[in-house]
C-alpha cells in the first residue's frame, strides 16, 4: 500500500505537489513528543503526529520515516513543508482524529 493508494482510500490531503507518493510505508508510529519518536519509531514507518515544528522533519530524517500524516485537520507551517521537500518526506493531512486514522490505516494493511 503506497501513500498514493492511501490517498485514494481515505479522506487525506496531500500537502505538496512534488512529494513522492509511491513509497510504501512499513508499519507506523504515533507520537507528538519528538524525543519519544526518536526512540521508538522505526525506519520506513508512517508517522502520525499533531506536532508541526520544523524539528519534526529533522527527527523524521534521523529515524528514516517514509511520510507524515497530520490528523485533526492540523497543517504545518510553510517552513516545515519546505524542509520536508528537501528531505523527500511526504506530508499529508486529514480531518480524521489520530485514533480513527490509525485504525483505518491498519485495516488497509499497514502494520
Amino acid at each position: 500500500m503506497t501513500f498514493r493508494e492511501l490517498l485514494g482510500n481515505l479522506p487525506l490531503e496531500n500537502l505538496g505537489d512534488d512529494f513522492d507518493l509511491d513509497k510504501s510505508p512499513r508499519g507506523g508510529y504515533v507520537g507528538d513528543l519528538l524525543s519519544n519518536v526518536m526512540r521508538f519509531a522505526k525506519e520506513g514507518n508512517v508517522w502520525i503526529t499533531v506536532q508541526t515544528h520544523i524539528n519534526v522533519i529533522a527527527v523524521a530524517t534521523l529515524v528514516g520515516i517514509s511520510g507524515i500524516i497530520f490528523p485533526c485537520g492540523v497543517e504545518p507551517p510553510e517552513e516545515t513543508i519546505k524542509k520536508a521537500r528537501e528531505e523527500h518526506i511526504a506530508l499529508l493531512t486529514t480531518k480524521l482524529d489520530a485514533f480513527t486514522l490509525c485504525g483505518k490505516i491498519y485495516e488497509l494493511g499497514i502494520r
Binding site: S35, N36, I54, N55, V59
Partner: protein, 249 residues
Amino acid sequence: MRFALDLHIHTLLSPCAGIEMIPVNIVRRVQEVGIDIMAVTDHNAVGNAESVIKSALKYAPGLGVFPGIEVTSKEEVHILGILPSVESARKLESMIHSHLVNPPVKDSLAEQLIVDEDANFIRYEEHFLMGATDFSVEEVSDLIHSFDGIVIPAHIDRESFGLIYNLGLFPPDLEVDAVEVSKFAKESTLVNLRRLIPPDVPVLFSSDAHFLDDIVPPRSFLELMDKSFDSLKEALKNYGYVRNHKTGG
C-alpha cells in the same frame, strides 16, 4: 560582584502553586536561603509580579526582583521571559493572553489569585493559565525579545514541558539567552545536555518553586556590575565569550 540567582519562582497565581506562595512569604524565604536576584514567573501571566517587587522593597530590602512569565508554546514547551519592567511584562502578557487556545475550564479560575504586596485579594485571573498558546517556540522567543526580555527555555532536563523532550533536538533557529535546568540536575545530565545545546549558551539552575519548601539555596551565580536588568542581560551575553575563552574554544 557575584550574585546568586533563581529566575523561576511561581506565586499563588499559578493554579499548580501552593496558596502559601504569597509575595511576602516568597521574598522572605528567597532572601533567607541566600538568593540575591529572583524572577516572578507564573504560567502565562504576570499579575503578581508587581506585588512581589513591592513586597521585596517592604519585607526583603536589597533583594532584586524581576517581572517574568513562563510561556507555554504550541509545542507545549515552557519558555521563561524575564522582562525589564512591569510595564513591558504587562504588554507581553496581553499578547500571550490573546493567543491562549484553551477556554477556562470549570472552577479553574478560583485557583488563579492576584494579590497585593500584603496578600490582600485583588482579583481572579480570568484567562485559563494552564493551557498553551498558538505561538511556536521561535515566535515566543521573538516576542519576548521584542520587549527587550531575556529568553530562557525552562527545565530542559525535564520530561514534562521540556524543550528537548518535546522537540527532540535544540531547534536550529531558536534564539535564547540561557537555558534552565532543574536545581537538582545531576552532573551526568548536564554533560549530556551540553552536547545538545549550542556551546555558547549559559546554563542556569532554577528552583521552579511552586511551594515555599521548593525554594532552596542557590546553585547559579553570575558576576554582575549590580542587580539591574541590564547587568543581568549583559552578563548572560558575555558568558559565552568568557566560557569559550577559558576552554580555549
